[in-house]
């Protein structure tokens, strides 16, 4: 068992500082209170952010947030790339060339999107490995594992659809092979391939279908499922690591009063009072 650890007393802030913060505080708290009184948004944000987590969580628990961050980077850079990208067979490759070589900082944003795609997939797998090895998929979190798995599939579909968009030889033939792989599925495979091609042969429709899926359908689905994923994380709480002395899946006691600030009273970690 971990030994009880007491934090050294925190010195009170200096008088000068206190005066200044006291003066400035209303500029923040008054508008926030105004909003919160009408919407409960501030309370809601606090409820979401200031949750109790096991005291022995570690860096591996940050992989989920890292994946979310990678997705947000992809979404942000993708929207900006859409300003300059033209999804037609005649113009797609030229617009990619112009983004890379002519548009100011285009090389950077396209590079972030291109390499960020790999980072996103790698982080997805690392996060999945953490959840698997920590046994965090077990009761009551099975449903969140299934949602996470769906997110993995959608993320890989993002990779598949995004790969065609530069419309160069690599993109074209990789997509030919990818679609034909889907086509070899029994019974329904040929129909799936036909739908993905948008016809008998790869052509202009394939490019626009992949573009629409890549920037409307799939990101929308991913964003929705991420919200559901986070809802379940907040509702079920973060699981403790396998070596934790705390009981896994211990019930959250809502009656327990919140400690001063964001701290829970009986925590054993370094923030205990």
């Amino acid at each position: 068992m971990a030994t009880e650890y007491t934090h050294p007393p925190i010195p009170p802030p200096s008088r000068k500082k206190r005066r200044l913060t006291d003066k400035l505080a209303p500029f923040v708290t008054v508008p926030l209170n105004w909003i919160d009184e009408r919407s409960a948004i501030v309370r809601g944000t606090k409820y979401f952010l200031f949750r109790k987590v096991p005291s022995d969580t570690n860096w591996f628990h940050t992989l989920g947030s890292a994946t979310l961050t990678a997705f947000l980077v992809q979404a942000g850079t993708g929207v900006i790339l859409a300003f300059y990208y033209r999804p037609t067979p005649d113009e797609a490759y030229d617009s990619i060339k112009s983004i890379t070589h002519e548009v100011t900082l285009g090389w950077l944003v396209r590079g972030m999107h291109k390499w960020g795609a790999s980072v996103f997939i790698i982080l997805l797998f690392l996060h999945m490995a953490r959840v698997f090895l920590f046994g965090a998929y077990k009761y009551p979190r099975e449903l969140n594992w299934i949602i996470g798995f769906t997110l993995l599939i959608l993320g890989m579909l993002q990779g598949f659809t995004g790969y065609l968009l530069p419309w160069d030889q690599t993109a074209y033939w990789a997509t030919v092979v990818g679609i034909n792989l889907n086509g070899t599925g029994p019974v329904l495979g040929p129909f799936l391939a036909q739908f993905l091609r948008g016809g008998d042969e790869i052509g202009p429709n394939t490019l626009t279908i992949f573009y629409a899926m890549h920037m409307l359908l799939l990101p929308g689905a991913i964003a929705g499922l991420i919200l559901l994923h986070l809802y379940l994380v907040v509702r079920l709480g973060v699981s403790s690591p396998p070596w934790s002395p705390e009981r896994a899946g211990a019930p959250r006691v809502d009656e327990e009063p919140r400690g001063p600030g964001l701290v829970r009273p009986r925590a054993r970690g370094r923030f205990a009072r």
């Binding site: 005649d90 033939w173 086509g183 036909q194 091609r197 008998d200 429709n205 896994a248 019930p251």
Partner: protein, 301 residues
Amino acid sequence: MEPRHGDDKPHTPTPSIWPVGFAVGIACILAGLVVSTPAVIAGVVIAVIFGALWARDAMRAGRQEPAVPAAEAPTTDEEEPDQYPRNVFLEMTTLALGGVITAIVSVPIVGFAILPAFTKQEAPGVDLGPVDNFPEGEWIEATFLSEPSLGEVSARTAFVRFNGTVSGEPSYTIISNRCVHLGCPTSPSGPKNEEERKTVEVENEEISLTPVLPAGFSCPCHGGAYDTEGNRTAGPPVRALDRYLFAIIDGRLVLGDRYSVGEVVGEGARAEIHSYGLQGPGEHVDGLSGWLYPIQPQDLR
């Protein structure tokens, strides 16, 4: 509300070895698909036995559970006698109306999302120019646009050989260059005579004809190799290369639809071609695996 766990209540269902056996069975099936058929059968037997045991355990655990709350149920039933009040009627009609509106809106949308890929897909024939450009017994690599209005993306290649005339009928071997493994472009294994390349002007495109001397055809992607009749000689392809139907119209060679080929026995004009309707790359046309693809999108047109 909050999940409670780790107290005296046991897991439902209790941990058992059945899921492990089930997983072993599935693994056996997957391995057997690659290695041998008896292993598949053994895997199915293992998976069914352990799956049944697992399901039996799970259901038994479920049956024991609701013993306690069942006792409370009758009291609520007596308070609410069977009736069909107005609010139930309104609830149902609101849901039904919403369902009808959703259907009216979504059926055309879903149809528009899916149907265009499956309808109006007829491709026009491709004119390859005068038949004089195809001397008897020589292979010509013909590159053309299958649909000129779509531009370069519709570029296709066929290998054409004139086999001479048999009982007054001209015979051509016209092989599509698309690998029947996963659709990469095969190329002739042998020299190309670039100096003798011809370009033929037809209606609204240019066709390029290059004499080649193939010992066979090979694919750069995954190593598929074929002989000059299109039969597989090595690598992952599951059948022979697709071929084109052809017609000779006003002394010009015109390509028609593509069709798939199981195998070709013999060669040239006397070849016996086991032909099938066009199927996608990687799809078996004959043997047991041919049953995996009972209908093709073009069958529904």
